[in-house]
């Protein structure tokens, strides 16, 4: 066995190959960004009135060059929904990615661990009883209640997962228990609700981007813009945590601090979009898995990859939701669930495949 000789010596093979793989990953990220731009443009063009991509681009770049009708449809009607799809998809996907990282659990996501169910219950509480968990303006009652319940659920999962002897399986079972609990509470509220409130609750829990407004987009985007730099700063540490707690600690990572910090940010990332658009399941599960499969788990690539895959997934779903029945926009949560469930099954059945 040779000494580790003084630098520099040949051994170019590993170095070159690593550089080549890193370049390939950057190319993949660039391709995903391009796909997202295209999907966004199609999302704007698609609907009861169909425009060509040329018209959409003209409306975006030079609004005065298109008719008032095109301008109104693209900018005022479709734009908030299309942007919300991207922002919410990105937020949920990153939330799922970091939950999976921190909890060392491939099945972790805001939806599977009951955070969405908690938010639904919070929202229903506001819609049916007008009971506010903390005092806020009536117009904010639904999102604030949803947010607080989601936050409570996230922190509950975090602290239980920190207890001694708690395994990966325990946390998933706990998540299932949370889903059942909040669904039961939700059913109870629905039973008590007036017909009008009931339909509002049902629509809310379905998850729909049509509730998008610019302030909601702004808040979700703000959370994302706070979260991403913090995660980026911890990129090496978060990647190390996937090698196991002991290993990460041996590299000088303060595992406890990173975990708590990450979980707090994740609770914001998961709760804010859910409180605005309702339950949109499986994006937070599928998004990170797609990113992991094509980019690996080096957070320098995995993190932007999760942002892009989640955004792209929900943007494409938004197009699909307008295409099933012409003139009808399906609640997007229904479609993500239909697509997500088979994926969820395949994850469980494949157990520990390359994708985890």
């Amino acid at each position: 066995m040779a000494e580790i000789a003084a630098l520099p010596i040949e051994a170019e093979a590993g170095r070159e190959r690593y550089r080549a793989l890193a370049r390939r990953k950057l190319l993949i990220l660039a391709a995903m960004t391009a796909a997202l731009c295209l999907s966004f443009a199609v999302d704007l063009a698609w609907g009861p009135a169909r425009y060509s991509l040329g018209e959409v681009i003209a409306a975006l770049v030079n609004p005065s060059s298109v008719s008032a009708q095109v301008r109104a449809v693209v900018w005022d009607i479709r734009m908030p929904v299309a942007v919300m799809a991207i922002v919410v998809g990105a937020a949920l996907s990153v939330a799922g990615a970091q939950m999976q990282t921190i909890l060392a659990n491939p099945l972790a996501s805001p939806f599977t661990l009951g955070i969405s169910a908690a938010a639904s219950f919070g929202a229903a509480l506001a819609i049916v009883t007008s009971v506010s968990i903390i005092p806020v303006a009536a117009s904010l009652l639904v999102p604030v209640n949803a947010f607080i319940m989601a936050l409570i659920a996230t922190l509950f999962i975090h602290f239980v997962s920190q207890m001694r002897g708690v395994t990966v399986q325990t946390v998933v079972l706990l998540g299932i228990a949370l889903v059942f609990t909040f669904n039961a509470l939700l059913a109870f509220l629905q039973y008590l609700a007036t017909e009008q409130a009931l339909s509002a609750v049902v629509f809310w829990t379905m998850g729909s981007l049509t509730k998008a407004t610019w302030p909601k987009i702004g808040m979700t985007l703000a959370v994302l813009l706070i979260a991403l730099p913090l995660f980026a700063r911890n990129a090496w540490a978060l990647t190390a945590i996937r090698l196991g707690e002991d290993k990460a600690a041996s590299f000088g990572v303060n595992v406890r601090r990173i975990r708590l910090e990450t979980m707090l940010i994740v609770s914001l990332l998961a709760a804010v979009p859910v409180s605005f658009v309702g339950t949109i399941g499986f994006v937070g599960l599928v998004g990170p898995h797609i990113a992991r499969m094509i980019l690996g788990e080096d957070q320098r690539f995995f993190l932007p990859g999760s942002v892009l895959s989640g955004a792209l997934l929900l943007s494409l779903t938004s197009i699909v939701s307008k295409s099933i029945i012409p003139g009808v926009v399906f609640p997007i949560g229904i479609i993500t669930a239909l697509v997500g469930v088979p994926f969820f099954f395949s994850l469980i059945l494949s157990n520990r495949s390359r994708s985890w």
Binding site: M1, E3, G14, R19
Partner: protein, 250 residues
């Protein structure tokens, strides 16, 4: 040159004082120190205490260290299912606390370590696809990539075949000498400890039994008291001391 000394060091595991009162002579740069003792004696706990991962009484005196993070701890082998290649896993060990940018110097260093440990051929394999022995070699590479001045290795050879065991211990001994590193190795094979260590620290039930020159520390009496075995210590044809175990003592 770095030097390490433990003064009445203890370690808490939860609320319990799991290791107490470990005092060593000064360990100097270039030395290999074997830490031996029965299962659950407190070897890993002591290492974690020295690294700062556990709290406890006593002083850990480090003199002459060039950097703040002079100590690297290599934990016992654990399997990881992260979707990372061997190369990436070594890189991330090296880059902790640093920027995203990966320089040529980082990559050249990693290439050299992998070559030295003879694992260049598995550089781009997934961690999940490695055998136990390969995982252990990768762990060693991860620890060395941090350019430690003091390295604490928790049973680094337990999954290796005979050839690799000797190769790795010999390599670490030469690393210690050439880089002026202090290498502490928790190890079960007392004959390997006798062969490669400059000092041996014996720990049992969380207490230090002895620490010093291998020939003074590894005795028939110690083996009976600490390991509950009847043993002889004889010289082989190469003039090395060897422990031969005849049976258990009760």
């Amino acid at each position: 040159m770095v030097a390490l000394q433990l003064q009445s060091v203890g370690a808490y595991h939860g609320r319990r004082l799991f290791v107490e009162d470990v005092t060593t002579p000064v360990m100097k740069a270039g030395e290999v120190v074997a830490v031996i003792g029965p299962n659950a004696a407190g070897k890993s706990t002591l290492f974690k205490r020295i690294t700062g991962l556990l709290k406890g009484p006593g002083n850990i005196v480090i003199d002459g260290a060039k950097t703040k993070n002079a100590i690297t701890y290599m934990p016992q082998d654990t399997s990881a299912n992260a979707v990372l290649t061997v190369y990436e896993s070594i890189l991330l060990a090296r880059k902790q606390g640093q920027s995203w940018a990966v320089g040529d110097r980082d990559l050249i260093f990693i290439d050299e370590i992998m070559k030295a440990l003879n694992i260049s051929s598995i550089a781009f394999r997934d961690l999940g696809a490695l055998s136990g022995g390969q995982r252990q070699l990768v762990s060693i590479a991860q620890a060395l990539s941090r350019e430690p001045e003091i390295i604490l290795m928790d049973e680094p050879t337990s999954a290796l075949d005979l050839h690799r065991q000797v190769e790795v211990l010999d390599f670490m001994q030469r690393q210690a000498r050439s880089k002026g590193m202090i290498v502490m190795i928790a190890i079960h094979d007392i004959n390997q400890a006798l062969r490669f260590a400059d000092k041996v620290l014996v720990i049992a039930n969380g207490r230090m039994r002895a620490c010093g020159n291998p020939r003074d520390v590894v005795t028939v009496d110690m083996l009976r008291d600490v390991y509950k075995v009847h043993a002889r210590i004889e010289k082989c044809s190469m003039d090395h001391d060897h422990v031969i175990v005849d049976g258990t003592a009760h």
